[in-house]
Amino acid sequence: MDINSYISSGILERYCAGALAESEMREVERMAAQFPAIKKEIQAIELAIWNFNDQIFEGPHDQLKASIIQSIKINTNFNSPITEKAIPSKPIATNFETLAEVKVEPNIEIKTENNSPIQATILNNEALTNSSKNQKKRIGYGIFLVLILPILLAVAAFNLWNNWDSLKQELKETKKVAAKANSALMSIDSNLKATHQQLDTIRNPDVIKFTLSGMKFAPNAKAVVYWNKNTNNILLDPILLPLEDKMHCYQLWCIANGQTQSLGTFSATNKNKQMLPMNGTTQAGVFLISLEPKNGSEIPNISQLCLMSK
């Protein structure tokens, strides 16, 4: 293999730009794993593309970082109950009723001791007298209104402010709930995409399925290994495995042509029961899963063999 020709072919630039088909990408990754010069070249191209895009515009606004991190954290703990609840503040009772009951005493009292001609005229002119009384009454009401209006306005303003504050709280809580719902939706969408990717992988006609059955150490355990004979990729579906303790982990093995090869370690504490990509193998024979010390072992511990393919 002429590494320089491979590098100058342009395939590495197309790899970094995402312009290759899936099989070509896997091929480049295999080459990169095999030849450090290729890996170094890819890193340099990746750095150039990143550096260019990092500098052409100003980027997002500063608050977005906290918003994204918070959304993901909420999403991660989404199953925890919502402890805060929007409780609208109880409106404070107004003093309207009390105010309505205020009686206005006339502050002008006209006393008569005798019927003077003028007074007689006034008394004879009932309409005029009534009109004068009405006018005084109106003045009284006017004074009352002038005095009471600022109080009424103050009470109304306070009540309005109180309701506005309550609505503000409700809006805040509603926004929180909406953010959580939005996070859940994004999570579902993302999980769905991941599931589709897995489905596409196992539907591939090049993929061979190996069903692993429980051994004496874990008789009820079940798992399936999907092996792509062309790309050599392995996908492990740990359907049912007893939870391991902190000192141990599970390890997947492949035995082919008398050679035992470790395909990596994993944990059964896989929350979403997702399939796990393991190390690839060029030849598939028998697959084993054993319980091993935390960082895995060089050879499988037969006394703690959990599963084996038929």
């Binding site: 100058s8 342009g10 630039e13 197309r14 790899y15 970094c16 730009a17 995402g18 312009a19 896997r26 990754e29 295999r30 990169a32 794993a33 890819i42 890193q43 340099a44 191209i45 990746e46 750095l47 150039a48 593309i49 990143w50 550096n51 260019f52 895009n53 990092d54 500098q55 052409i56 515009f57 100003e58 980027g59 997002p60 606004h61 977005l64 970082k65 918003s67 994204i68 991190i69 959304s71 993901i72 954290k73 999403n75 991660t76 996070s183 994004m186 999570s187 969408d189 993302s190 999980n191 995409k193 991941a194 990717q197 997702q274 796990l276 990509p277 190390n279």
Partner: protein, 166 residues
């Protein structure tokens, strides 16, 4: 890249934190890649609000699907930028129904003229068509009525030009 922007954590450590779903990884991931990813999305979409939503989705997708990232073979920024670009292009396609030869935000509108001026017009056009308009190299060859091999060679030259930017 990651190692250049955050002195506190290496890319290998970041990948490890993401694999074990340690939320502390998010701030490092954001510091290292958010700006570049946002700028890619923004050029494709041309709308700040939409670009932020797609960036948020990219981080969600990364967080939830990181088990699919093979640290032995894959390259983190390439993986993230492909997710961001494909999501933005899909969004643009749904909105505009067809791809246009002209990206919504051209490189000429960049806030870093000094950087852009170092690229030839041919390289700018190739970068815009591929990265921000969503054309494959084959489609670019057809649209520009050029040989596919020539487009491939020119594309490599354009990326080399990016490597030589000062």
């Amino acid at each position: 890249m990651k190692t250049n922007t955050s002195p506190t954590i290496s890319e290998a450590e970041l990948i490890y934190l993401l694999k074990i779903k340690d939320v502390n990884a998010l701030a490092h991931l954001y510091d290292a890649y958010a700006k570049a990813l946002y700028n890619i999305i923004f050029q494709i979409i041309g709308d700040e609000d939409e670009a932020e939503k797609i960036l948020q989705f990219t981080f969600f997708h990364c967080w939830n699907s990181f088990y699919l990232f093979d640290a032995n073979n894959g390259f983190l920024f390439s993986w993230l930028s492909i997710i961001a670009r494909n999501t933005a292009l899909q969004h643009k396609k749904e909105r505009t129904k067809e791809l246009s030869l002209q990206p919504i935000i051209t490189l000429a509108k960049s806030t870093n003229k000094k950087l852009i001026d170092q690229l030839s017009s041919q390289h700018r056009q190739l970068i815009e068509l591929f990265f921000y308009s969503g054309f494959s190299l084959l489609s670019i060859a057809e649209k520009l009525n050029t040989d596919y091999q020539i487009v491939q060679t020119d594309f490599r030259a354009a990326i080399l030009a990016l490597r030589n930017l000062k």
